[in-house]
């Protein structure tokens, strides 16, 4: 019979490794310190990305199933598949991809920048010395603008598709193109809104830490959106 856990557990209180199960009390038990909050929000973000992944996994599997299963045709007494590859506006989508990747770069720069600011933070409290964002380059705004540009680009891409006769309801393949790109656009829009929040945090002189967290989280989310888009683009291109 195994012996009771408190004897088999070894040291009854493990050393503080800075994760849950260690000592989490930062600045008082209820307002954990900056390090705690950053880690917590990052964990939350990573966890939160899982359902987004599943959403697109579901769309993808639907895409593949639909592409490879036929329907019983009572006339020819056989299974036929009505799949027609979509002719994508490659140039336009290529440009959009470029824009989105650039925006990821500027996002990263913005993140690094805020990181540095948070080092200089103490100076800001000394009267007289004033470190305001205007002097530092507005990477955050650049990212937001690039993001909006990408969305506009996608809108053009949809119009281009329509011009080639691929409408939402015009066929098995085009409906998936719209669903996948549309769902991605919606999530990216969420990213843009997050950026605007981060910007507001910057302008409304919120305490540097919470501002940095806002930027940091939006940044990782933004990078994820970039990766997601590349995946969707690849899927639509290679598995027409």
């Amino acid at each position: 019979m195994p012996r009771s856990s408190y004897t088999t557990d070894g040291p009854t209180v493990p050393p503080d490794l800075g994760y849950g199960g260690g000592d989490n009390s930062g600045d008082g038990p209820n307002l954990p310190n900056y390090r705690e909050r950053l880690r917590r929000c990052r964990v939350g973000l990573v966890v939160g990305l899982a359902p987004i992944v599943m959403l697109f996994v579901a769309f993808t599997s639907a895409y593949l199933i639909r592409q490879n299963t036929g329907q019983w045709d009572p006339h020819s007494s056989a299974y036929i598949n009505d799949w027609v590859p979509v002719r994508l506006p490659m140039l336009l989508l290529g440009v959009n991809t470029l824009i989105l990747l650039l925006s990821s770069v500027s996002m990263e720069l913005a993140r690094r920048q805020v990181m540095r600011e948070s080092l200089l933070a103490p100076l800001a409290n000394i009267p007289g010395i004033k470190t305001d964002e205007v002097t530092s380059f507005p990477w955050l705004s650049v990212t937001a603008i690039l993001g909006i540009a990408f969305l506009a680009g996608q809108y053009l891409a949809w119009q281009a598709l329509a011009a080639r006769g691929f409408y939402l309801a015009s066929g098995p393949s085009s409906q998936f193109v719209y669903i996948l790109t549309g769902a991605h656009a919606v999530h990216l829009l969420g990213g843009v809104i997050a950026l605007l929040f981060a910007l507001r945090a910057a302008w409304s002189h919120q305490p540097i830490p919470s501002r940095r967290i806002a930027v940091d989280i939006s940044a990782w989310y933004w990078h994820f959106m970039g990766v997601l888009w590349v995946y969707i683009f690849a899927l639509l291109y290679f598995l027409k």
Partner: protein, 275 residues
Amino acid sequence: MGLALLLALLLLAGLSIYFFPAHNWWLPAAASSTAHATDAQFFRSYLIMGVIFVAAQVALGLVAWHFSRRRATPASNSHGHNGLELLWTVLTAVLFLGLQATGHPIWAAERFDLPEGTATDSNHADAIQVEATGVQFAWYFRYPGPGAKFGHTDPKQIDASQGGESALGLDATDPAAKDDVVTGEMYLPVDRDVDLNLRAQDVIHSFFVPNMRFKQDAVPGLRIRARLHPTVIGTYEIACAELCGLGHYKMHAKLHVVSQQEFDQWLAGKEADKQ
């Protein structure tokens, strides 16, 4: 309270045991080859799961009763026993997987590797072909006739009001359709393989013959095949077992299992009417 629990659980176990052989309500009379195999498997399953069920309930009752009476003796501090864990893990695994194994052949016989069964088809010469089509809220049955080939159907030519062939949209221009027979009641010869083709015209229906222990969804856009083998002459009920809308509850048809020559006469009669 403990005693009451024990009694209640004993009662539960007792009643279940009683109803098992009592057969007050039981499977309807078996009328197909798979039905007999299925019932045997039902018996095995009920026996194994029944033993587990009774054992668990009675054990629960006894424990609840016995150990709620001991006031004096302190409880043991046991944290578990790996040997036991292993034992019942293996035990249940063996039981459940064994059950699966014994049941599998029935399924395989009914559904696996069905050759395209046309009466002229050598390796399947004996099978008679029937197509059952589900429509809100009726079943239509089609026999390929002497030509042993189903004619085309065409959604554009469907006219439910006419019933029969036009309800299926049978394409008159197709030579193979000439000798197709469409009926509202299903006739099958006894002791012969049936190559069943299931189709649906609007939504999903499910072809359910309790006496044959047979069920299969009829899905629009698919033609689903299965093998049946009626063994007892008689008339049986075909129900629809997949929610298909308002009339789901009254979507049913009759299945007549008859002798071979009765069947031939019936089919010939239908052919005659058609000409």
